[in-house]
């Protein structure tokens, strides 16, 4: 239906432009978060500008405000963005509320196949309802929450010996969540080169999604499930399972015993700061930042190495990443679709990875040279094999805010127990699903 409207619109546009068959040059605006990959995308898009004659403008919003500002923009029917690289959890709302243009007909017409993209990314970034072949975005940026550490410290003999003496085991890339905590506690408060350092920087941010993304990185490896049966919204016994309680307690212990002081409200930026300023031995953050971290003159290069979120009862990583969508309120949808078509080209995707963007295209990921192309490339493939995402329901914001509150109250503000926090979370979520008419 939307596509039909589009076709009419473009026909009118063509008629207005006279007999010229070339599309009119447009000023397109692409909205995304302000972070390293966005700069890479600006670089990449220069090719598109040269090829198409369209001009690309960018509106990059810092992460802590990204969801707030962009959802506000969509909900007010704004025409600021023609293209939006929206967070994975927005897809439900974007589809159901008509913010995003449905891309199926366009994909068919242009011969773009979703089979060319990694299945986990298509599932997470493009489909609504989940897993059905209804596409509202093209996977643009694969991402997951991973870890990095000071390889130079881990390799030092004095530190290795001290670790062996303190714990009885060898210092290495952690193989489990608990080992990771042990290592972090070992580094906490230690003097290295005359400076006090700390264990690890983790996410504790309250305002947007920070602490939820951090906590789920512990919950998933412990085997946390949102529902007993997918699609049934029966959360009792799943969300507050014994494993979930243990994982949440683990995260709190991590926060209390192995993080630098003052990191009570920290997310991506703070994690990067802590690591780059040499304060911490390890840090969690999105893979998206890894190219920048590797290139860092002070703590990058051979001083850094990366590892996938360690398993506990099972492997599991928190999903990040985004798909690129065409905003339904845009007047320039044809040109926006042109951009998506250009972006889906394997050649462009290869360059995207080269510049520091995480392509989700199979031609890139399955290339024999991929794993060796960057020190974190192999970890990225491992992570994407075990990713889980938060609810992607249209009511995701309500669900997320509830979790932010319950988890932050427990972990940072010391209120109640882990069991109580998760019990209350189920109450909050139940209320939301009742309002939604799903329970």
């Amino acid at each position: 239906m939307t596509y039909f409207k589009l076709a009419t619109a473009s026909a009118l546009a063509l008629a207005a432009a006279g007999v010229s068959s070339t599309a009119q040059a447009e000023d397109l605006t692409l909205c995304w978060a302000a972070w390293d990959p966005a700069n890479a995308l600006v670089e990449l898009s220069k090719d598109f500008e040269a090829q198409s004659g369209h001009t690309m403008n960018f509106e990059f919003v810092p992460w802590p405000n990204f969801a707030d500002r962009m959802l506000n923009e969509l909900n007010s029917g704004g025409k600021l963005c023609d293209l939006l690289i929206g967070d994975s959890q927005w897809i439900g709302g974007g589809a159901e509320n008509g913010h995003y243009v449905k891309l199926n007909d366009f994909f068919d017409a242009e011969g773009i196949s979703m089979d060319d993209f990694a299945p986990a990314t298509v599932y997470a970034y493009s489909t609504w309802p989940k897993g059905t072949p209804n596409y509202y975005a093209l996977p643009a940026m694969g991402d997951a929450n991973g870890w990095f550490y000071r390889k130079d410290w881990f390799d030092r003999d004095d530190i290795k010996a001290a670790y062996k003496e303190a714990t009885g085991s060898d210092l290495r890339e952690p193989q489990s969540q608990k080992e990771m905590l042990q290592i972090a506690q070992f580094f906490q408060g230690r003097e290295i080169d005359g400076k006090t350092v700390y264990g690890a920087a983790i996410f504790t941010e309250r305002g947007s999604e920070g602490i939820t993304m951090g906590v789920t990185s512990a919950l998933y490896p412990w085997g946390f499930k949102y529902e007993n049966t997918p699609g049934s919204y029966d959360m009792e016994g799943a969300v507050n399972s014994a494993e979930a309680v243990e994982a949440l307690e683990f995260y709190k212990e991590f926060y209390k015993t192995a993080t630098p002081p003052g990191y009570t409200n920290s997310y991506m930026g703070e994690s990067l700061d802590a690591f780059k300023s040499g304060q911490v031995a390890m840090a969690m953050n999105w893979f998206a930042f890894f190219p920048g971290l590797y290139a860092d003159p002070n703590t990058g290069g051979d001083k850094i190495d990366f590892f996938v979120n360690p398993p506990q009862n099972q492997a599991g990583s928190t999903l990040g990443g985004q798909g690129i969508s065409v905003v339904a309120y845009s007047d320039k949808q044809d040109a926006a679709l042109e951009y998506i078509k250009w972006f889906s080209d394997p050649g462009v995707q290869a360059k995207w990875w080269e510049l520091g963007g995480y392509s989700a295209h199979n031609s890139v990921l399955e290339d024999p040279g991929f794993v060796e192309s960057q020190p974190f490339a192999g970890d990225f493939l491992d992570a994407m094999a075990g990713v889980q995402d938060f609810w992607q329901e249209p009511a995701y914001a309500e669900l997320l805010l509830a979790m932010q509150k319950r988890v932050h109250d427990y972990v940072v503000a010391d209120q109640g127990t882990a069991q109580e926090a998760l019990d209350k979370l189920i109450e909050d979520w139940t209320e939301v699903f009742e309002d939604e008419g799903k329970l």
């Binding site: 707030d68 959802l71 506000n72 969509l74 909900n75 709302g93 159901e96 509320n97 008509g98 309250r206 305002g207 002081p261 003052g262 990191y263 009570t264 409200n265 249209p394 914001a397 309500e398 805010l401 509150k405 932050h408 109250d409 427990y410 940072v412 503000a413 010391d414 209120q415 309002d435």
Partner: protein, 315 residues
């Protein structure tokens, strides 16, 4: 030509008649002058208020365009008033309100009293003291966040310097026991001058002869302070408290920038909570009911207070 004729006629007729001849009547002018303002207020204030009341009885969600909107009666109000989390927000707001007013009155009055001693250069120093209150609260909150940084912030450094505490051993914005005070400190820094200015006006309004008479009666300075200064300044002080009370009940920008409501929810004032409901969860109907409850609360408290203020004035 005709203008001049009218001029001549006008100048020879009494004023009210002239006005009728050459211009609009006072009544018409009054309405023409007032109408645009009333119209604007209707459009920007009243119509939205009515709309808010209307929405507060529905389950409307502004981000769900196609969703059916249902009338749910008083359900939103019921939910809000029985929600224990919201009562915690109210408590946080009350704590903030009480202590900011307490410190601002204490420090503001003391300063005004000192300035009223008319030392040399008091005008200059008054102007300097007044600066913080004119600044953008959001921007103030933002840079105070920088001052409060546990390791690098100036605030911790200065406190550490004077108390010998390790500046990285406490976190003004991150600790449950400190964050509510961190926001009180910034608000006090910002708004003490407001109370001070009003108190100063009160002090300066006291005529000299009252003190002179007291002096003749050999009333002690302390007695003069409690029987003359305080009662005469009280109406001014109460006015200052009214303004600060209303402003801080609405408090949003400063605290959002400082703590965002955290840690946990200990500094989540009602306005911050309302913002989350209305513009993050998009529960428009629910948030509308919340807004009405807040409005009625401020309006009610303010009306009672104004009555008390008028009584004090009459004395």
């Amino acid at each position: 030509m005709s203008d001049r004729t009218i001029d001549r006629v006008a100048s020879s007729t009494p004023a009210p008649v002239a006005r009728k001849i050459r211009g609009l009547s006072d009544r018409a002018i009054a309405w023409i002058f007032v109408a645009p303002t009333i119209f604007l207020l209707l459009a920007i204030n009243i119509f939205p208020l009515v709309w808010t009341i209307r929405l507060s009885f529905t389950n409307y969600k502004a981000n769900r365009i196609g969703r059916e909107v249902k009338e749910i009666g008083l359900r939103n109000y019921e939910r809000i008033l029985t929600d224990s989390d919201i009562w915690l927000n109210m408590q946080a707001t009350a704590h903030f309100l009480f202590w900011t007013i307490f410190f601002q009155v204490l420090i503001g009055f003391t300063l005004a009293w000192m300035i009223n001693k008319k030392f040399k250069g008091n005008d200059l120093w008054t102007t300097i003291i007044v600066l913080p209150m004119m600044l953008s609260p959001a921007v103030v909150g933002n840079f105070w966040k920088f001052l409060y940084q546990p390791q690098i912030g100036l605030f911790n450094y200065i406190v550490g310097f004077f108390t010998g505490k390790d500046p990285s051993s406490f976190e003004m914005l991150g600790q449950v026991n400190l964050a509510p005070w961190a926001i009180v400190i910034v608000d006090t820094w910002m708004w003490t001058p407001f109370v001070m200015l009003i108190c100063l006006a009160g002090l300066r309004s006291i005529p000299d002869y009252i003190y002179e008479a007291a002096e003749i009666d050999r009333a002690s300075k302390l007695r003069q302070f409690f029987t003359i200064t305080i009662p005469m300044v009280l109406p001014f002080l109460m006015l200052a408290v009214l303004f600060r009370g209303i402003e801080n009940f609405k408090m949003f920008d400063l605290v959002v920038q400082l703590t965002g409501g955290g840690p946990g929810s200990v500094t989540e004032l009602t306005s911050i909570n309302l913002k989350r409901e209305a513009f993050e969860k998009w529960r428009t109907g629910y948030a509308s009911a919340y807004a009405i409850i807040l409005f009625v609360t401020v309006f009610g408290l303010a009306s009672i207070y104004v009555k008390a203020l008028n009584k004090v004035k009459e004395r």
